[in-house]
């Protein structure tokens, strides 16, 4: 029999019996396995920390999103937003499900092409596109979403040099009732800048205008904002038809659906408050269908959903390194995964859970990462049961942005492991080592 866990005695204010708004605090949630594989086994095999990605969750989430839209709108196409998670294995799952690629740089464009995505199934967004990038995009017949006039001029110039046609759309920024308005990207709708750009493009010889794009922001918590955006793009779509007798092929509403993570400062958990795919889909589909567009000319609806599509599938396994008490008497805990791996910890109150049965007593604690930097705080304040050094913890909903925005800082970046549909595990990105990092370095001989 294992020795009973020793719990250090502490004195704390009694809160039991005084229910807060949501009643008594629920039983401590435990994540002991992922897709049927025990957390301890995963850590034995792949070390700590380690990112784990569930293929099943990705596919289920994709199917749910797809069903939500396709049962409401006749022509829907998702484009996987590379920046959210561009590990090849992850992208491949999305492409296998039928997703196009949405990229925002030459690098991402090359990555999508190397993943075998047909160039004409790539949407090229972003404010920074060099002549080189544009050339690559044109040669692969990608859909280029123009961000500003200078890009438009460069693109016209490039098509002329190549003597080739480019398929283009413009990114539109608009007031969808969301604050702040992301007006730094694309052409503004309300002041007529977008209409201006459209007129120039329609007259440009080598540009084939095929769509309209907007991305109103990220983690948008009101579905109705999309209805406003969709209506405005539908208006432009009809205006183009009226003036140029030209039907565009698609309307792209970008990404931005909230994932189930809880924003810092939110009163209620995100899983309760964020709209579901169904709610976003209902708002968008109704707006386009009830616009002036005749139903036989409805455009294809593109979505570049990122975080809502992949957040749930990612877990970070980590180990308790130390338990401390702060000078104010607050319980603190150091774990072996820091903010360098968890970029989203700056926005979210990430869910951190034990992997084994623990005592029912929880105490408000702070969880620090292993970095020797003051900012390395994973959770400021979390009710957490006591745990001892070596305890294995699971941080959930970390599939989006972390594996792209992470930093190699002080430590190596860990293994990323995929659990496939059969429950087999695969390393999809190896833990870094000294060699791999030094391989880019050059030390001038002195």
């Amino acid at each position: 029999m294992e020795k009973l866990k020793y719990e250090k005695p502490v004195i704390s204010k009694i809160t039991a019996g005084v229910p807060n708004k949501f009643g008594l605090s629920a039983k401590q949630k435990i994540i002991s396995e992922i897709d049927g594989i025990p957390v301890s086994k995963l850590m034995d095999e792949y070390g700590s920390p380690a990112f784990i990605i569930s293929e099943k969750t990705i596919r289920d989430t994709y199917a749910e999103a797809k069903r939500a839209f396709e049962t409401r709108y006749p022509k829907v196409q998702f484009a996987w937003s590379y920046k959210t998670n561009y590990l090849d294995a992850v992208c491949s799952i999305f492409h296998d499900e039928g997703s196009w690629a949405e990229v925002v740089s030459g690098f991402e464009l090359e990555k999508a092409l190397s993943n075998g995505v047909n160039g004409s199934n790539i949407i090229f967004n972003g404010p920074e596109k060099s002549e080189e990038d544009l050339t690559l995009a044109i040669n692969h017949n990608a859909c280029i979403h123009i961000d500003h006039f200078d890009e438009l001029y460069l693109l016209i110039e490039t098509t002329r040099k190549l003597n080739k046609k480019a398929r283009v759309a413009i990114r539109v920024n608009l007031d969808a009732g969301i604050y702040p308005i992301w007006d730094r990207f694309g052409f503004n709708y309300e002041n007529g800048e977008a209409w201006n750009a459209i007129n120039r493009i329609m007259l440009a010889e080598n540009l084939e205008m095929i769509g309209l794009h907007t991305h109103i922001g990220t983690y948008i918590m009101v579905a109705s904002a999309y209805a406003i955006a969709a209506t405005k793009l539908s208006n432009l779509y009809m205006a183009i038809h009226r003036k140029f007798d030209h039907w565009l092929k698609y309307i792209d509403l970008g990404g931005g659906f909230a994932s189930k993570n809880t924003l810092k400062g939110a009163y209620m958990p995100g899983s309760e408050t964020c709209p579901t795919f169904d709610e976003y889909a209902e708002a968008i589909s109704n707006a386009i269908i009830s616009s002036e567009i005749p139903h036989e000319n409805l455009p294809v609806l593109f979505l570049e959903t990122g975080r809502a599509m992949v957040d749930d599938s990612g877990y970070l396994l980590t180990t308790v390194i130390a338990n401390k008490r702060s000078t104010l008497g607050r319980r603190t805990m150091v774990i072996d995964a820091g903010v360098n791996l968890l970029f989203t910890s700056f926005w979210y109150n990430l869910g951190v859970y034990p992997s084994k049965e623990v005592s029912s007593h929880v105490e408000e604690s702070t969880i620090y990462g292993p970095l020797c930097m003051n900012i390395d705080v994973i959770r400021d304040a979390i009710n957490f049961p006591s745990s001892k050094v070596g305890d294995q913890l699971v941080i959930e909903r970390v599939g989006a942005y972390n594996m792209t925005q992470w930093m190699q800082f002080i430590t190596f970046r860990p293994n990323v492991v995929l659990i496939d549909l059969e429950g087999k595990t695969h390393i999809i990105r190896k833990k870094e080592n000294l060699d791999s990092l030094q391989s880019f370095e050059m030390n001038p001989k002195r």
């Binding site: 069903r67 396709e70 409401r72 047909n118 017949n141 269908i289 036989e296 294809v300």
Partner: protein
């Protein structure tokens, strides 16, 4: 140039076809046989020819439809009259005058009956002839300047006059050697159609029939045998048929019903057997009546029974599976059968509307036709649709609330264009588990799409119906939202086709025009099929590029360049650069005509599918290869999908094999041509980039593959077709572009 000119070819075919049309045929060879035997009797032959010329000239001068004219439809009744009158009297100027007058009467009767019966979609058969010949016969005794013919009594004299001693000997030989009274009367009856009273005429006609169509030949025997049997069973003296012009009624009825107006098959053959005794009875009884006027009923029994039967069939309410009227009359039972055997669903007339599924996205059929819950009896041809997740569940959470159900509130669409004839909107949704048996159907919309084709969607969400009675709506337009009203314990969409406009109407067995069937993450396109329980189905979306390329518009000109690599001269002949024209015929059917070799390829495009229906011309025409490669092409966007069909076997088989096949074709087809189209690249959801497909055409004998044709097809943004066909050591390349 005057618009009303006739080419020499049209004149000739209008004459020849007036002869072969008597057997519902347009075979020139058969016509030659028939003209020959008509002149076995000079008076009849001349009378017939004069009558044909007069009727056809009238049709031409008065400006009737030239297509029908050259098909012989205006001439064949007059021909019969001419023959009949010509044989009644001795040849003389007066006789030919009488023939001319009768032909004029007959022509106008033809026009009248064409109009009257045509309204009911019925043929006029030989009704005009009947009336005319009776008119002439009844006045006959008073026409004293005309001598009643005594021919037929001195057969040998006449034969001698025709062909000398050898001919007489030959005839003698036949007379002495054909002793079976069955055969003799059969030949006599056949000859009697042309008012010829001797064996030889019947023999020549039956030979002509055999060469023209095996099915017709078999039917002529079948009809006659059944009559013969019936005569024997009920004890009517059969030999009497030998000297009355009556027996052909059995033959013609059998041909008309067994093979011509209906697509031949076991069932039509069965009905020939059932109906013939009726024809016998009508024949016997009308003979009694007509005897009082010293008249013969001639083909009256045939006309009565065929018209009655065809009319009765037209009034069927359920879409027929058997006894299908020939959708496109190709003028030959075999051709009609082969065209029909491939895929009956191709015919626009078989399915006047091509309905799509009434929703967006993938739905699951929860209850299909003849379902175990409510789709029973008169309401058995209906579907219940729901949405399920990957695990087959219809709801999330506990399923206690409407909103838990994936289908609840989803748009419900018009499956085809039409007019709203019923719209109910104010029945509340049941709470989950309850049903409303007072308003069984709940909120519903009934749309009229065509005569006798309505669709109904039911159990819609309370106050979600967006259309009202009288609204004219388009296919795919939203009519309401899926709900839980009426006899519906949980949200689902009920859909049915019906023949009448009421909420409670019973269902008809009618298919969806096109849908995708999900099979393990792959899709196959189904056309005019009934989706089954538990299947997951969705609407295909159209490929704009393909839609444009396959939209052949009358007046369009296509420039065709053909290159051939082959050691056979036959194939090399089609090489070159020439033009194809898109045109329409009198029936408004679109076809492509090759300017070089005159080949025709008939096509149809129902908006979802392009298909070729028929090809007329030689196999070494590039158009033939275009026809088989693009035999059936869906316009829906579907990479990695397949569509299958079979090409009518007479397009690819010939010679002895086909001759043998013809005989047993209504019973069993041992020859088959499979068509499999594989869509490799369909340009994506934006319809951009080239479309690539390959068609594999396989000739089979009793299921065994004997030859394969590989056709690669590329269509680009400019709607250019690039086709490569490979078989044996031959390679044919066809490039087809719009001529500007």
């Amino acid at each position: 140039m005057k618009n009303n000119t006739l080419s020499y070819k049209q004149i000739l075919s209008s004459i020849l076809n007036s002869y072969s049309q008597v057997f519902f045929s347009s075979s020139k060879l058969l016509a030659a046989f028939l003209i020959l035997i008509s002149f076995f009797d000079y008076g009849a032959g001349m009378g017939g020819l004069i009558a044909v010329l007069i009727a056809n000239s009238l049709a031409w001068v008065l400006g009737y439809n030239k297509y029908l004219l050259s098909s012989g439809l205006y001439g064949f009744n007059a021909l019969l009259v001419g023959l009949g009158v010509g044989i009644l009297f001795e040849p003389s100027m007066q006789l030919f005058l009488l023939v001319a007058i009768s032909a004029i009467i007959c022509f106008f009767l033809t026009i009248v009956f064409q109009g009257v019966l045509g309204k009911y979609g019925l043929p006029f058969l030989s009704v005009p002839f009947l009336i005319t010949i009776w008119i002439v016969e009844l006045s006959g005794v008073n026409l004293t300047a005309l001598n009643i013919s005594e021919r037929g009594i001195f057969v040998y004299n006449e034969l001698y006059a025709l062909g000398g001693q050898h001919f007489v000997d030959f005839y003698d030989f036949l007379e002495n050697n054909i002793t079976s009274s069955f055969l003799r009367i059969y030949f006599h009856s056949l000859g009697a159609i042309f008012f010829q009273a001797h064996l030889l005429a019947g023999i020549v006609i039956s030979l002509g029939l055999l060469i023209y169509s095996r099915i017709t030949f078999v039917l002529s025997f079948l009809g006659f045998s059944v009559a013969y049997l019936f005569y024997n069973i009920v004890g009517i003296e059969f030999d009497s048929l030998g000297y009355t012009f009556i027996g052909f009624n059995y033959i013609l009825t059998a041909i008309a019903i067994g093979g011509y107006f209906l697509v031949p098959g076991r069932v039509t053959f069965g009905w020939v057997i059932v109906l013939l005794p009726t024809v016998v009875l009508i024949t016997i009884s009308t003979q009694q009546i007509f005897l009082m006027f010293k008249l013969s009923p001639y083909s009256l029994p045939f006309n009565m029974v065929v018209l009655m039967f065809l009319y009765a069939l037209k009034l069927r309410e359920q879409r027929p599976k058997h006894l299908v009227e020939t959708p496109v009359q190709l003028g030959k039972p075999e051709k009609n059968l082969y065209l029909h055997s491939g895929n009956t669903k191709r015919f626009p007339s078989a399915y006047p509307i091509s309905a799509s599924l009434p929703f967006y996205g993938e739905w699951t059929i929860n209850q299909g036709h003849n379902g175990e819950h409510t789709h029973k009896g008169a309401w058995r041809h209906a579907w219940d649709f729901v949405i399920t997740d990957r695990n087959g569940k219809q709801f999330k959470g506990s399923g206690d609330f409407h909103e838990d159900y994936f289908c609840f509130g989803k748009a419900v669409l018009a499956s085809f264009e039409g007019t709203v004839v019923e719209a109910i909107n104010d029945i509340p949704d049941n709470i989950i588990g309850d049903i409303n048996t007072k308003n069984n159907w709940g909120n519903s919309v009934v749309i009229k799409h065509a005569e006798y084709i309505y669709s109904k969607v039911s159990h819609l969400k309370y106050h979600s119906v967006e259309v009202k009675v009288g609204d004219i709506i388009k296919q795919g337009q939203i009519v309401g939202r899926c709900g839980n009203s009426g006899r519906s314990p949980y949200p689902h969409l009920h859909f049915q086709f019906q023949a009448t406009p009421y909420i409670g109407s019973t269902t008809i067995d009618y298919p969806f025009g096109h849908f995708l069937l999900k099979e393990e993450n792959k899709y196959s396109l189904k056309t005019f099929e009934i989706p089954q329980k538990d299947q997951i189905v969705a609407n295909p979306s159209k490929n704009e590029m393909l839609k444009n390329a396959l939209h052949f518009i009358p007046g369009q000109r296509l420039k065709v360049t053909v290159e051939v690599e082959s050691d056979k001269d036959k194939w090399q002949k089609q090489a070159g650069t020439f033009t194809w024209l898109v045109e329409t015929d009198v029936f408004n059917t679109t076809y492509i005509r090759c300017e070089k070799d005159g080949a025709l390829a008939y096509l149809h495009n129902n908006g979802d599918l392009h298909y070729f229906t028929n090809f007329i011309g030689a196999k070494n025409s590039a158009l033939y290869w275009f026809f088989i490669t693009l035999f059936k092409v869906p316009i829906g966007f579907l990479p990695n999908s397949k569509i299958s069909d079979s090409i009518q076997l007479n397009m690819m088989f010939g010679g002895v094999l086909k001759f043998l096949q013809d005989f047993i074709s209504p019973i069993y087809l041992f020859l088959k041509v499979d068509y499999n189209l594989n869509i490799k690249d369909a340009g994506g959801i934006l319809s951009s980039g080239d479309i690539e497909m390959s068609a594999l055409i396989t000739k089979k004998i009793i299921g065994r593959k004997v030859k394969e044709f590989n056709c690669e097809l590329k269509i680009n943004q400019q709607a250019e077709f690039d086709i490569t066909i490979n078989f044996d050591q031959t390679n044919i390349k066809i490039l087809c572009q719009n001529e500007l």
